[in-house]
Symmetry: C2
Amino acid sequence: MNVREHRIYLDHSATTPVDPRVVKAMRPYWRATFGNSESSHAFGREAANALERARQTVATVLGCRLSEIVFTGSGTESDNLALRGAAWAARQTGRGNHILSTPIEHHAVGHTLNQLRDLFGFDVELLPVDQYGLVDPDDVAAALRPETVLVSVILANNEIGTIQPAAEIGQICRSHGALFQTDAVQAPGRLALKTEPLNVDLLALSAHKFYGPKGVGLLYVRRDTPLVPAITGGHHERGRRPGTVNVAGAIGLATALRLAEEARRKGSELRSLRDRLIEGVLQNVPHSRLTGHPELRLAHHASFVFFGVEGESIVQALDMEGIAASSGAACAEGEPEPSPVLKALGLEPSWGIGSLRLTLGRSSDQTDVDRLLHVLPGIISRLRDRG
Amino acid sequence: MNVREHRIYLDHSATTPVDPRVVKAMRPYWRATFGNSESSHAFGREAANALERARQTVATVLGCRLSEIVFTGSGTESDNLALRGAAWAARQTGRGNHILSTPIEHHAVGHTLNQLRDLFGFDVELLPVDQYGLVDPDDVAAALRPETVLVSVILANNEIGTIQPAAEIGQICRSHGALFQTDAVQAPGRLALKTEPLNVDLLALSAHKFYGPKGVGLLYVRRDTPLVPAITGGHHERGRRPGTVNVAGAIGLATALRLAEEARRKGSELRSLRDRLIEGVLQNVPHSRLTGHPELRLAHHASFVFFGVEGESIVQALDMEGIAASSGAACAEGEPEPSPVLKALGLEPSWGIGSLRLTLGRSSDQTDVDRLLHVLPGIISRLRDRG
């Protein structure tokens, strides 16, 4: 029997396999329609037409205009374009220097804000979060200053699954005249993505998180949002993101986004499976806790901490059992310490180092969850004995 | 008979179709080996192993170390990382503020240098070029100052095909202690790419220019070259280029680069075909001139100006005949004017607006060239009559 058949993938927040329908949709764009979408001849026009079809598909899901969509090379690049672009545009017009964010952002946002602060002198302030990782919109309102130009809050956290009150935060920012950016990379197929009700000005997506190809991202840029290009070159994507457009990738992203949205609307059964997983872990593993919000969390997302155990050791032990999972713990050399996200929740190190994330997807079923629940208690127990 | 069979593609410097062997090489990485190369479990390790195989293939062609290769999302991004990364690293350490380049760079370099000048206060100086677009190494030597931190010269120009004396320029920069960056996007399959003999510190490539996929680029970063990441986020690519790595794309780039280098070593017959094309055009179209260097030019590259004709009109007329070509002329609204590259050669507007680029590739044959030579003289003549 094939070893691969026994493998269980519970790391869908890290990446997903490309949907066969997406692979098929991309196929014509390797050789048959290969033109550069900026070329004015027939080969170029065919590529440009394909790109605009992709843009139309995306615009339907996001409920936005074609001109508000920028294809990029990754979700990380999208976040960078949003933050660097908005910050530099504000500086150019002297509108202010203050940026608000949270301590639970993805590195694509967190490390970019660090560079904007350290290298470019922006004033970056991080809002507090509660024990579930929730941002309080009142805290946003209280922290906004006249010179606040940008607020960036992750829509749903990758590590702990908590979903933020983005629409409310966005409304506060808009009333105040500050731009609101959100990293929505974990959202497609799980949360509604219409941009107007979300009150966002900038929203970042990454195709490989929702069964699309790696190497393609998207940034929604609300009309009239000032943005300095973070990568400079040709006039592609209305001058906001130069570089020959990856037409196959754009088609792949658009197709995957449409399919993810269709699946979301039909309703997913992952939530009940996820709830059985959470319940099973908490019941069967002593000294275990759920991280993130118990209800306001992504439907496929379960995350835990286990007292006195090191997360990466759990991941390795599960891997030996053929189960793919991840740990949020930043395993620096020497002593392990909790990730910035878990620190922001106020978890003490003895808990915070023992982080495990299990994220379900289309391939997941009860057998996967049963197998996980069968092996995990013993693994935690053995690791505790060893420690 | 299929219309498509009659189409002739003479725009291989704009983009190329993906080689069937490259499509095949990428195939396992959509679904079978789909992991995130940063994940520590088996799915992740398989992806990481594939990525390292791709890196090994590239390292063999470039004659460099694995750690010197950074996969990016495009050639444009590679140029941006090189220039922004080196400039900001120099500023951080107070090493200097002066950057040397040329007026015939691709926009990925030219517009990035403009932003570094206008938004970030770098001192950008452009060296002169001769009537063929050649940079004189003596001019580089004369322009280098103690505070010069970076020199960027395109290896082979996209618009006029001229090949620069890069190794010589690189040697001068290295003696002086300035970094040497080159946009080598047009080079694979046409020029030797070993990085040590080229004396480069930073070298940018783009897969779709050599029968690889769009959306994947590469930056060679010589060991110990200080570089601030231009996109910030996770720790991918040794912290130099975050964002989940496009493993399929990296495999595609590596495979295409290996094939391009093999084809180059076997020798290409494009040069003689290109020479017949150049000779035919110059003989059959009155008031026509070759642009770029007659000998020191890319083997697949022919570029012309036609007195008193507008380049984009030629491209459109050729398109009506089923021939895909391009014009270097920047067709701004209203009056057409010569591209910055043609201006730098000293061409007066009556010549410079009439630019046509014909670039051959694997699909090109004598029939294509004969067809072009059959229709072009009439097109130019009719456009002149019309004008």
